[in-house]
Every structure is written in C-alpha cells, then in structure tokens.
Symmetry: C2
Subunit: 674 residues, 2 copies
C-alpha cells in the first residue's frame, strides 16, 4: 500500500513540477519523493490514553457505563446517583421511587441483584491459534487472553446480553484480544488472520444494541477481538478546508474534547458518545443529536485536502507557500515545498480507510462530491464489521458555535406536538435539536427531578408557575413537551428561536423555559444507567427506534405502543408495561421515533424470552405501519431476519456479493447483517 501511494505521489509531483520555472543553473534538477514521515508507524499509543486497555478498571463488567456511577435506592428509599462524573452525580432524586413503584408495580423489597463479580471459572479456556498468537507477538502487537478482557468484549448492551452477565452466564467469548496502535498494525493483524484463518471481530466502544458484538456460537475458529481503542489520535487538523483526519478508535467524548481545545468540533453527539468510537459510527451509520446542523455520519465523512498552505498536526506545524502566482521560484525551495506536499499527499488522500482481507480500500478522490460510479463509501458505511476494519477517517469540522440556547415547549397533546415538528421540518427551520416526548416521558422526566439545586427548577413547579394556572386547558395526562437546542451566531439564534416558537404557538404550544430544555438534554447520558437500577428490582427494558414518513408518525406511535401492551398482557405480564415514545429527529420526509419499553417480570419464568417476543412483535408493528428497520441502531444479528424484506432479494444479493469478494474466508465473521 505504501509503495502504491509513493508512486502515485511521485506521479503527482512530476506533473505539478511541470509548472516550475527553472533557472538556468537548475536545468538538470529533478524532483523526487521521499519516505512519507506522516505514515511512519508509531507503536506507542499517545501518552494521554483516555481508554485503558483493561477497560474493566473503570467500567462495569455487567452493566452500563462507569463503575463509579450508578443509580441506587438508599436506606431511606430515596434514589441517588453515585460518583462525581455527571451533573446528576451525588444528588438525590426524591420522586423516582414513587414513579418506579407506581409505573411498574414494583416494590423495593423485591430485589433481583446482579452477580457482583465475574466468576472466572465460568469462562471457557481460550481456543488459541498458537501460530497466530506467536506471529502477533513477533510483530510487537499487544495481546491478551485474560478472561476478564475477553468477557468484556464479548457483548454489547442488548437486554439479553446484560441480563445474562448479571446472572453470571457466559456464552461464547473471544479467545484473544489484540490492540493495534495504528493503521499499519491493523494491516498486519488482518494479514495474519487471513494466513492463519482466525475470526476477527472489530471492537470499538462496545455500545452495540443489535447483538453485533455477540460471538457466533457455531464459530469453530479462534475468535480475535480487535480492540481499536489504542488507535485514537487526531492525525491532523486542516483549518483551510475544515477537516480533521482521525484514527478510527477514538471515542466520541475524546474527539470532541481535543477538537474543542483547538476551537473546533465535529458536532456529532450520539447518546453513546462517552463510549462509542468513530469506527463504530462508520460501521453502523450513526446519527447524532445535532444532525440538523452537523449532519449524520454519512454527511460528516469527507475527503481530506492536499493541504499545501497550512498543515497543523497535534505534534508539529509548518506553513508552506506553494506556487505563488506569477513568480519564479528556485527549484531548491520548491523541492522543499513539494516534499511537504508529498508528506501530506501520502497520508491524506482518503476519506475512509478500511483494511479488508482483499486489501485496503481508500479513495484517492479529493473532491467534496463526486460522480465516479457508485459511491464506495456507502459500501463501507453500515457494513457493521463484516468487511474489515475502518482505521482512519477524514471528518468535517466546524468552528465551535458562538452561542447556544436551550428551550422547551409544552403542547396540549402529542398530535399537536407532532404537527408542530412536521411544520418546522416543512419550513426547514429546525433547531440544532428538537425532540418531542409523549406524556409518559413527561411524567418520567418529572420523576428524575433532583432535589435542592439552584440550577434545576422543578419542572412541574415551573409549569404551574408559568402556565397551568394561566392556561387551564392543559391536561397533565395529555400534555407533551418538546425540548430544543439552538446553536450559532447569537443574532441568528434569537431570530431562529422566534420563528420556531411562533410555529409552535399555531399548534397550541407554549414556551416553557430554557431550564426545562437544558435538563431534558442533560439527562441524555444518565438515562442508560437507569436500566441497571430497574434490573435490580425485577424490571427489564430496552429502547428501540425507527424512521417513518410524517403522515404515519401518529399511527405508528399509537399502534406500536398499543401492540406492546397487548403482547405483554397475552404473555402474562402482571402489571401493564411502560410503553412510551418520543420523536427525536426531523427530516424533510419523515422523523425518527424512539421507543422505551419496560416491564416488571417478577413471577415470570423466562422474562428475557418474553421480552424478545414482545420486541419482535413491536418491530413487526413498526414495519407494518410504515416505519423502517432502524434509523441508526443498525441490524446486527438482532434484525437480520427482516433484511431481505427491507432491501429486496436483489439488494441482499448485492451485499452478499460484496462480502464474498472482499472477505471470501469470512475472516470478519461476526455474522451481522447477512
């Protein structure tokens, strides 16, 4: 690969050098390319390694997120959130107990705790392919077959996966974990995997909710978890073209933090961003909260520049003036200039770089939008780890917005809220984020109100204070809330805000203050911790999502929620389930809808099986009502059965033909999608 880039760079140098005006003494000077410094493999990870190899040192082995952060009910029966990482950390949530017991018919006396620690004897000894492991070590790669490391990477966060871990049930797990530090390491690993015929499963943030990380039980080869977390550098930032070239193992929060230090951001903020990786986003077609401004992952991935003006890497910076017009330059100076260009050319001529068994896929095309046949980036986006490992990505970056403002709107009912969101989309004036929760989620949000904090206004108090007393028409059992986030130039934000609130008013919506909006978004990252609390008290649940045309939104929301209730009842679930939804994204032709579904399983013998049947029925209901198989969670193994119906037999055949070409031995054998 390197030699291919070098000859390509040499060719480009030769062509550009044709424009040099040589002085007589330079007549015989020639231009030559040298070894690209930017591509030299670096075997040590960057000194600041936000994600430790042994992730279980800071993260839960059998639940969501950081070990130091969890919900619990204290001795007084009050809910608390532990730790110091979040705004909610250390606070009491006085209303949560009543909401929890009331919603689920649960009782804090009825406990279903998790197995506290991993029973190492429950983990089968690794099935090692010794020659493969020896070749890895000879190549200087970091390797482990420690059972804790293997179990950690054997799962994502589907309910059935976490439930099994809590019960101490360990299924098929990877046999080996390997940590590449750079693209060249990945090429080596894939080469060795092909040579020794082992199964490679790329592992980024481990946040999959589609069973994508589950090891296929029938896999007889050694399974190798290729953990990308140490391959996490921002290689360069291009301020002229507003792009950044980044290694795919970087985690969302680290990417944004490092870019923020330079005054930039990608603005890609999936709810999983504390843990999910750039490579994972590419593999699953991820979507972020502020996609209205920054785009979804397919809009963010673009091509790098042949930056001859300014190159500012994190480690070094040099400025090159290239070909000042109408001036002749000495060849000597230009050789230096062209050398710089060559450095840049070799590492930057790609959008997405992926290592596959067939070779490295990379475009050399350098334009923001092209017509060069079917766009091969779209063969990579959504390939869910079945074709190879994404190693480097060029992303668009934006200056950090000058101004941010939250907001919220109360609607008399869900229909009015949806109609308002549809009109906002029609006028193409959606804020950075606009989300509409149904009445159940409004109640739920109230339950998460922390005690005694100057920052947080009681939502209900706020509501009473501003509106309920004035406008008695709002029924607390029907009202819904939309949360909003505006970003940008301050003047434009205020103008934009007015436009949106004016539209909301036409649908009976009333502004309900910034605090309520901000609190809605602040809760985003702690919601996932709640499931672990629920599972301590016989309550299991999951979220799932879809995208759907505008005119089907209401029917879909109503029908899916009713179906969930009906299916639970038919299966003997004692207490009606929590069945709730929100509209989380707007588009020209439709919306993204997110469902929560949870129920009390006490007294049921096979709760996960019941859960799976109800979720399956819910997905059938979604599809029947015009919703898609997934807006952004992906297919994994969880939703494979609907692939043919979704993309047609021929579509599925095309995906299979690509897989068979790129990976004929099925080295990337996670079994997703196809």
């Amino acid at each position: 690969m390197a030699s291919n880039s070098s000859s390509s760079a040499q060719q480009r140098l030769r062509i550009i050098a044709g424009h040099l005006q040589k002085r007589p003494e330079e007549e015989n000077a020639s231009v030559a390319a040298q070894e690209c410094k930017a591509e030299a493999p670096r075997s040590e990870p960057s000194s600041a390694t936000p994600v430790p190899r042994r992730r279980q040192e800071i993260m839960k082995w059998n639940g969501w997120g950081y070990s130091d952060s969890r919900f619990l009910f204290n001795k007084k029966g009050q809910a608390e959130f532990t730790g110091k990482r979040y705004r909610l950390s250390g606070l009491i949530l006085p209303s949560l107990k009543d909401w929890f017991e009331g919603t689920f018919g649960a009782n804090l006396q009825h406990r279903s705790p998790a197995t506290p620690s991993l029973n190492l004897s429950a983990v089968a000894p690794p099935h090692l392919n010794q020659p493969f492991v020896e070749d890895l070590k000879a190549a200087g790669l970091s390797v482990s077959h420690d059972p804790e490391d293997r179990v950690f990477r054997a799962h994502g966060h589907c309910l059935h996966e976490v439930f099994a871990l809590r019960e101490g049930r360990i299924g098929r797990v990877p046999d080996v974990v390997v940590w590449p530090s750079c693209h060249n390491d990945v090429e080596k690993i894939v080469e060795l995997a092909c040579k020794h015929n082992v199964c490679l499963i790329p592992y980024g943030g481990g946040t999959s909710v589609s069973s994508a990380l589950e090891c296929p039980r029938e896999e007889t080869r050694s399974i190798v978890s290729l953990d990308t977390s140490q391959m996490n550098r921002i290689l360069w930032i291009d301020e002229k073209n507003l792009t950044a070239h980044v290694e795919a193992g970087i985690i969302g929060q680290d990417l944004e933090r490092q870019l923020n230090e330079r005054g930039y951001c990608t603005g890609h903020e999936p709810d999983s961003m504390e843990f999910s990786s750039l490579g994972g986003w590419v593999a699953t077609r991820a979507s972020g909260m502020k996609k209205n401004i920054y785009g979804n992952i397919e809009d963010l991935v673009c091509l790098p520049s042949l930056n001859t003006q300014t190159h500012t890497g994190l480690g070094h910076a040099h400025t090159l003036e290239m070909f000042p017009p109408h001036q002749s330059c000495s060849v000597g100076v230009l050789l230096e200039v062209i050398q710089g260009t060559c450095d840049l050319m070799c590492s930057q001529v790609v959008h997405i770089k992926m290592v596959t068994p067939r070779g490295v896929i990379e475009k050399s095309c350098l334009g923001p939008r092209m017509s060069t046949g079917p766009d091969i980036h779209h063969f990579i986006l959504g390939s869910e780890g079945t074709l190879g490992v994404v190693t480097e990505v060029t992303l668009k970056i934006r200056p950090i917005p000058e101004y941010q403002k939250y907001g919220s709107v109360v609607f008399p009912n869900f229909q009015q809220g949806v109609a308002c969101l549809r009109e906002v989309a029609r006028q193409r004036c959606a804020p950075a984020s606009i989300r509409l929760m149904d009445n159940e989620q409004f109640q739920f949000g109230h339950a998460l109100k922390p005690q005694v904090s100057s920052i947080f206004t009681s939502f209900l108090d706020g509501l009473k204070k501003f509106y309920i007393t004035k406008f008695k028409g709002f029924d607390p059992h029907h009202l819904c809330v939309a949360t909003l986030l505006f970003e940008g130039d301050r003047g434009k934000v205020l103008q934009h805000e007015k436009q949106v609130y004016d539209i909301a008013a036409k649908f009976g919506g009333l502004a309900a203050g910034e605090d309520n909006g901000q609190r809605g978004y602040m809760l985003t990252f702690v919601i996932a911790y709640l499931r672990d609390l629920g599972m301590d008290y016989y309550v299991i649940g999951e979220s799932f999502e879809t995208s759907v045309p505008w005119d089907r939104v209401l029917d879909l929301c109503r029908n899916v929620k009713e179906r969930i209730v009906r299916e639970c009842k038919e299966r003997g679930v004692q207490f009606p389930p929590l069945s709730t939804c929100r509209v989380t994204q707007t588009y020209d032709a439709g919306a993204c809808v997110y469902f929560y579904f949870a129920f009390n399983y006490r007294g049921l013998s096979d709760p996960v099986h019941i859960y799976e049947q109800v979720e399956h029925a819910a997905r059938e209901e979604i599809l029947a009502n015009g919703g898609s198989l997934s807006h952004h969670h992906g297919v994994g193994k969880l939703r494979k059965e609907w692939m043919k119906e979704s993309v047609s037999g021929v579509g599925l055949g095309m995906l299979k033909s690509v897989k068979e070409y790129v990976d004929p031995q099925n080295i990337f054998g996670n079994g997703n999608l196809l």
Copy 2:
C-alpha cells in the same frame, strides 16, 4: 414481483387490522388484499407526450438541442440565434463575431460545415435477433429498426461523437430501439433480453458527455436501445410528506412544469434539464444548479409514504381518514380504507425501483434515513446503465419559492472571488446558486450580449455606469464576476442577500446588479448551442469539470489552464486556445470547477485526436492538483482508465462483484465504468 408485494401488503394489513375494534356482528369479518389498481400496466403513454418517439423530428441529428434553434452568422456577419424557444431567440448578437475571430484566430470565410443530413447507406443494416424482436412485438411493445432512430440513440454529446456525425461517419449503432411505457414493460424487455442474450443500453435524454452511450465496437450480440422517454408520468404527488413518485423516463423540464402546475418543484435544474431524464440523473449522480437548496440527486431521492391521509394522483384523488384515534370504526368502513392503503402500499414502498437481470431492486424501507446495512441506493446511484434500468423514483418536492432574486458581484481578480466563495461556504450562507467566472468568461459573456432589448442591460455599460467610473482600481483584464440566485421567503432572501454582499465586500467585491446575474443564468441553456457554431468555422471544444478542496482551487485552476495552453502549443495548434474556468458549486470542504477548452484546428490533420490528448493531459493535471475524476458528468467510457486510481483496487473489485452478481451475462453491456 407483484405477488411479492401483494403478500407483503397482506401481511401489513393483517397486522394493522389487529387494532380494529370489531362490533359483535363483525366478529368473523376478515381483511383481504385485492389487486393493486395503482400498478395496473398502462400501455398507452400519457396523452401529452412531450418527447416524440422520433426525436429527430424536433431535435438535431448531429448537434445539440432543437433543430429550430441554432447560432449562425448572417450575411452581414452578425451572429443570430434562430427559432422562438429561448429568450435569446430571434436576437442579434453584435459582439460575437469579433470575439470569435479574435479569440480563436478564426475567419468567417473559413467554413467547415456539417454533413446536412444522415446518409442512410452509411448505416449498417441492423443485426436483429429475430426471436427477441418477435417476442417484443408479441408483448405489445413498440419497436423500431429504422436507421434514423438507431443513429439518434448511438451517441451522446462528447466532442468526438458530434464531430463524427458532422462528418457523416457512423460507427456501431443500436440494432433495435424499444419504447417501454411503464415498469412492467421494462421487466418484460429485460426478461426477454436475458432469454435471448441481447445487449441492452438504456437511453434517457441522450445528453451524456462521458461516451456512456457509445455502443461497444466489439459487441457481437444485437444491441437494443431501451428508450425510456414514453415512461414519463408523475404517478402521484404526496403533499403530506412532500414527495412525488415519478417514472424515470420523464425529462427535467416536463417534471418541473407539471409539478409547477401543482405549486411544487423538485428544484433539480442541471444545465441539461431540457433533455435529460430522471433515470439518467440517478444513473450518473447528477447535480443541479440550485443544489444548495434542493440537494444533489442523492439528496432528492427518498422514500415514499404509506399515504393514508391524502393521495392525489394526476388522474384521480381520494382522501382517506385512517384510524381516527379513540374511535371504534365499523370493519366495513375500514375495509374500504385499508383497501385504499393497499393500493398505495403496493406501488409506493420504494425509493428507487430498478429492473435488473437478477430481479427488481427496491427497498421497502419507509423512513427518511436508515441504518439497514450499506445503503443499496448507492449501488444504483452512479451505476451508469451497467446494472439495469431505473423505472420509478420517489423524489422530494418543495413548494415553489415565494420569491426569487438574481444578483452579481464584480471582484478585482479571481483569487479574491474564490476567497469570497470560500468564506460564504464557511459561513454556510450560500444562496441557491453562486458561480464565479474567470476573466475570460467575463469577456465571453460580454460577447453574447444581444442587441436592443429592454430586458438586457449591456454588461459593460452596466459596469461602467455603476462602478468602473467610480472605482478605477478594477482592471478589465483581471476582474471576475460572480452571479447569484436567491430563493425563498422574501424577507429572508433580502436578509440573506445582505449577508452575502457584506462578505463579498470584504474581498473587494462590488454588487453589479440583478440584470447581470439574471443574464448569466439565462445564457445557461444556449451555451451548448455555441459549440455547433464553432464547429462550422474550424473551432472545436468541450467542457469538463471536477470537484476539489478549497485550498487547491486556485492552484488547480491556474495549473490546468496553463497545461491546456502548453499541450496545445506542443501539438502544433496555431492559435492559443480558449482555456477558461468557473467555480460553479460550493460545499463545506471544496468546490466544483467547470472548464471550457476550445481551439481553432484549421491546418491540423487530426483535430479530434489532438483534442483528446489535450483533454487527457488536463485530467491528469486535475488529478495531480487534487481534483476528482468528476463532480457530476460521470465516468462512462471516457474516464474508465482512472477508476482504479480513484476508488482503489479493492473498491473497483467491489463494483465488479456487484456487476457480476446482478448481471452475469452482461446484458447491460454499455461497457461504462468497469
């Protein structure tokens, strides 16, 4: 395929019917799907057929556009534009002669006229596959092997193609032309082509400039031109989701005109829109002038709705109220409602529908954005006729904008203009269209000034009147002009306009009036007719384009223009060529640049060969300077040699694997791309 949709619709009905509240007497009623009326094949084309089967009745057989419209120099040596179709029609262009003779060293005495009519004996007899033709006729399909029909569809509008026609040289042409009227006809044709092993070449608008329509010389099978022009209906318009479902043979101007009658538009306005087709846009990843508002073709293609609220087809309309909430409905009424739903479901559950030898590709996914593996639409977009025939597409539509305003800005030089466009892109405030022409095109635009019209202000007069006298700093040999178009809500347009002109001022740009902007855009559709005029006087030329990162725009423009001049000189072109460019689109990370290249070939023995060598060198220069293989013209056969370099060997292999799966016999054998 019909039965597959029916069973899918039946399944959906069954699921939705689960929500019916049945009255006791309706307990045994069941829901059944019937034959979908919306899919009934219609063998007659719509009564208004904008494009006649025998296109040569209104279009030139050996040049661009309508037969009644052409540039010529009259007896007085003045340039005229004939006919009545265009704003320029019937007008004198007094400055064109001097510009033409001065720019090219041409002389109106030196004429190189085209062969006036097709010499039928130069057309080889058709190589008919008789059983295939008989099966076509038995199926009621419209067929021709008339030599004029065949020649018309044997070419696009690359220089070498038109030059050959003008010389009366006819190469390999299709043997048969067939005109399907609907999707089912296309399925029949493809089925028969596979059965009889003939080569199918889809033909839309015939405006390809990548040699995509050229028949492969080595093709021994019968070549069948599948002309989509009679498959041109808007099947329905969905006002709730702002989409329209359209047959792929529709031509751009007809699509917009029919939508306009209903108050809508797609806003997709490629320069070829008078002749190019929806299917062609999908096949080539087309781009339109106003993509800043409406998007490029990949942004316009979306999924249809399960529209149960409003269905308004051009032939019929019915309004359905589906599942009013909280009410029980009689099963009888809902059966009728569901029947309507079924009608809609069967024909609407796709974004793009393509017929391939392997079968019909269609998504059933119904969301505006999805994560269901790699996006198969992107296997279709850009496939350039190599995989199958696109038959139906669902497009996003928008209400016609309330207000439109043109504008123009003069910059002291090209660098300042580019810097301004880059800043406009950075601030994400680009108008519907913004284009920057270089100084040569400014001069050229002046040459196209018509005489004596109240609508048109002399550009130079306008310039003098407003600015040259005031701001003497502008050098007419360096100044450049940007033309602008704003659309939307009137208040927002005026605000937007101010923002853009303020940015322009920071780069030395001065507003130069609406008229100059409007005229710049008005000339768009007549420019293509100029080449035929040139070719009457020993001048040949072509346009080509690229996309490129912002920081390479200036170098690329300068280097490519210089390279063209150098290459012409080295090949003995007597008079320096016209070598000019403009920036026609802006994106976050770069721009689209369009080049014109033309020269006087009098005295040269093989002008087209010289032209091709220079164009090849120009493309090498573009690639070396960071530009892409194409922004929107596509690859065809003209740019195949760079495909591997552009998308990598593995990328190319993936495209080939899809081709081999979808079309193992190479029925779609136009030889493009791979």
